[in-house]
């Protein structure tokens, strides 16, 4: 497939740009943070997104969705990187939909995907148990109890974990930490007895949670897919998640660049614009070149999920490794080139670095994905 957007995808990108700039700019993030917002976004924002159909983009038509595809959704997510817009898009409309669509039964898909598409339900994906992403290391226990299961263990760094209606939890029904086999996925009410949710405040002002599960009883119907065979769907969900985080990081890196370039053309020192200094010009030119690489890999990776490409896992790791590297460069250079004003809370450029790092870290950082890419390449 040609590495260009079609007309519909281009239109979606532009309408997302317009909507987000008006309804959820960086100033809104500041407002939410200063108000210590529980969700991290304005009350009516998700409702507006649902009305525009964003919650339904990845849901198949058979379950009440739009089935518009990943390249289109990727354009929206890239724009949310430019405006640093928090919303349930990632945790619900992408991770929730991908996990349920990939592993769920007909009944589960009909019920849960329909509820997501219509905006009635939000989800959060609970995978990691330590500060370092390691999906095969799941040790949280799901033991058979009567007709259902009893869940015991804990999860951390769960994005939207303190607000989501349902938690999609990776737990172990057999095997030991490190095994791919034996991992099962469960859909659990966040408010079920025994679920203890503690909000974690992170640099980006969004809502994350550490969650304890103490003898949480769930029915057989809560099992998503087959017992012990959840890793495949989990892995595909994480690949999608990493590709979308890469799309968001692309938006962050590009916006950091655009704002910095503008500053280089305004700020005067020694009686001249600082953008006339070759030391800064070459750094800006290298940075721009890196962004060109990023655009290509993000688009290719999004296309790979749409096409069911067998290379999607490798492309997901290439994308997340590269975008994490470049987002780090971009947000650091942005502050350095802004000088003192870049260090102030009053100026918006500092918000980009504070969202970039959690986005880089979630589901594996540069080093994790470079290692994974090497393993997938046979070394």
């Amino acid at each position: 497939m040609a590495l260009v957007l079609n007309e519909e995808q281009q239109m979606l990108k532009e309408s997302a740009q317009g909507f987000l700039a008006e309804n959820a700019p960086v100033a809104e993030l500041r407002k939410q943070r200063d108000a210590d917002s529980h969700t991290g976004y304005a009350d009516n924002l998700w409702g507006q997104m649902v009305d525009m159909g964003w919650a339904a983009i990845l849901v198949p038509e058979a379950y009440g969705g739009l089935e518009f595809g990943h390249v289109g959704m990727g354009q929206i997510v890239e724009q949310t990187g430019r405006t640093l817009t928090a919303s349930p898009l990632l945790a619900t409309a992408i991770l929730g939909v991908t996990a349920i669509n990939g592993a769920g039964s007909e009944e589960q898909k009909t019920e849960l995907l329909g509820a997501i598409a219509s905006g009635e339900m939000t989800t959060a994906l609970a995978v990691d148990e330590t500060a370092h992403h390691a999906p095969t290391q799941v040790s949280m226990a799901a033991s058979r109890q009567g007709a259902g299961y009893s869940l015991n263990g804990s999860k951390c760094f769960v994005a939207d974990g303190s607000t989501a209606d349902k938690l999609i939890v990776a737990a172990r029904t057999s095997g030991a930490a490190g095994d791919m086999k034996g991992i099962s996925l469960f859909v659990v009410d966040r408010t079920a007895p025994g679920v203890e949710v503690e909000r974690t405040k992170v640099t980006d002002g969004r809502n994350y949670a550490s969650i304890g599960f103490n003898n949480v009883e769930v029915s057989e119907a809560a099992l998503l897919g087959e017992e012990g065979k959840g890793f495949r769907a989990l892995s595909a969900t994480l690949d999608a998640g990493n590709i979308y985080l890469s799309a968001e990081l692309l938006g962050i890196a590009q916006e950091s660049f655009d704002r910095t370039l503008q500053y280089l053309k305004e700020r005067k020192q020694f009686g001249t614009l600082i953008g006339s200094f070759q030391a800064l010009q070459h750094r800006a030119a290298d940075w721009w070149s890196q962004l060109e690489l990023c655009k290509s890999i993000v688009l290719k990776a999004l296309q790979a999920i749409d096409e069911g490409d067998v290379k999607a896992p490798a492309l997901a790791s290439i994308a997340k490794a590269k975008l994490s590297e470049v987002a780090e460069l971009a947000t650091n250079e942005a502050i350095q080139m802004h000088g003192g004003i870049g260090m102030t809370d009053e100026y918006e450029i500092g918000f980009f670095i504070k969202r970039a790092r959690p986005a880089q870290t979630l589901f594996g950082d540069n080093s994790y994905h470079t290692d994974r890419f090497a393993l997938l390449s046979g070394y």
Partner: protein, 392 residues
């Protein structure tokens, strides 16, 4: 659709019948490339056959018009030819600065007479060309060139010195930038002129590089007669053509950042050399270096693809040749630095059979020139900063 299918079938049959077996083997060194020219010594009878058969169909320059000896293929047909050649791993029948550089410039800027005179011999591999651009005092500042051509009524007399003339000692003709108006502002008084390397007063002298080879010459011009009808385009407007050719050259050199689809990857080479334990290559730091290179290499190849797709679909302007040249050459240099580490002390062995005549250290040293020739990396960054980012 049927037309292209028919073309593919015909092409496949023709290639099967006409591409000699030894021309379907990977190119191992520069000696396996076919350059053509008056004094060219073919490496084998099959190499000669292959060049002649392909040029008879115009397929040494597939997209040039048939009236100048080219193949006259449209974009879709050209793509099919490339795919079918790749399918049987056919070598390029002719590598030539005529096809890559001066030919496209003549097609775009040359008079009808110049096209008729020069293009058909290029297609047939009869005339080998070299480029006279840089001078001892004009490297990155190419427009500062001083070699001059004085108007003597019906001809010019050229004097000066060129440097970094690729294969100047083996070439038959030179396309050369000469100052035709010493009074004009530096970019304004330059013309692109063509002359035979056998013209009295033209003396190419090979330069030995750190790699031990001599692919370049310095070329002295002493009272060289240049015919007036051999000026390409308008007199004193040569800088426009020079810039066009530089863009072209950058794209070619930038392509070096990509490795052949069929070739062994850096990761595979490293794995073989270093071995693995529990699925991970021994030497974790080198493993990370190799993986990072492969990640950047994949992103670069996709960018080259995206730029081509964007141009085709009429979307945007795409990344410019300056970015591809800058990143592609830096990537190629990194690749060879990694290969050196992967092969340890073996990689510095200068000659002998076991080291394939010192292929690795010599090629590694040659890559150092990639980010200098055709405009240094620093010049490319200047171009990006000024032309794309608008930084004054």
């Amino acid at each position: 659709m049927n037309d292209t299918n028919a073309f593919r079938r015909e092409t496949r049959d023709w290639l099967e019948e006409n591409c000699p077996p030894s021309m379907r083997k990977p190119i191992k060194s520069g000696d396996d490339m076919c350059w053509g020219g008056r004094n060219y010594k073919f490496a084998s009878e099959e190499q000669k056959q292959w060049m002649e058969r392909m040029s008879a169909k115009g397929w040494t320059a597939p997209d040039w018009p048939t009236e100048y000896g080219g193949g006259g293929l449209d974009r879709a047909e050209h793509k099919i030819l490339k795919e079918e050649m790749a399918r049987i791993r056919a070598r390029s029948p002719l590598d030539s600065f005529g096809i890559w550089m001066i030919g496209p410039a003549l097609l775009k800027f040359g008079s009808e007479a110049l096209k008729q005179q020069h293009l058909p011999p290029i297609v047939r591999g009869e005339i080998r060309w070299c480029q006279g651009y840089s001078e001892p005092g004009a490297g990155s500042d190419l427009a500062g060139l001083q070699s001059k051509a004085e108007d003597r009524g019906d001809h010019y007399i050229a004097n000066g010195q060129k440097v970094w003339t690729s294969y100047g000692d083996k070439a038959d003709w030179m396309f050369c930038l000469l100052r035709t108006d010493p009074e004009a502002k530096k970019q304004m008084g330059i013309s692109l002129a063509l002359f035979d390397m056998q013209t009295p007063g033209v003396t190419p002298k090979p330069i030995k590089l750190i790699s031990g080879s001599s692919p370049f010459c310095e070329t002295f011009l002493d009272d060289v007669r240049v015919e007036k009808d051999q000026v390409v385009g308008e007199v004193n407007q040569g800088w426009t053509i020079a810039k066009y050719l530089l863009t072209h050259e950058r794209e070619m050199i930038g392509g070096m950042g990509m490795t052949d689809a069929g070739a062994e990857t850096l990761g595979q080479i490293a794995l073989k050399a270093l071995g693995a334990e529990h699925g991970r290559m021994n030497n974790p730091l080198l493993r990370a270096e190799v993986a990072k290179w492969e990640i950047d290499g994949a992103c670069f190849a996709l960018t080259a693809e995206r730029v081509t797709d964007e141009v085709k679909s009429g979307h945007g302007v795409g990344a410019t040749s300056a970015m591809l040249k800058y990143y592609g050459t830096e990537l190629n240099k990194r690749r060879f630095e990694s290969l050196l580490k992967v092969n340890g002390s073996d990689s510095m062995v200068w000659d002998g059979k076991s080291s394939n005549g010192g292929w690795l250290p010599r090629t590694w040293l040659r890559t150092k020139g990639n980010s200098i020739e055709g405009g240094t990396s620093e010049v490319q960054l200047n171009v990006i900063a000024k032309n794309i980012l608008g930084l004054g």
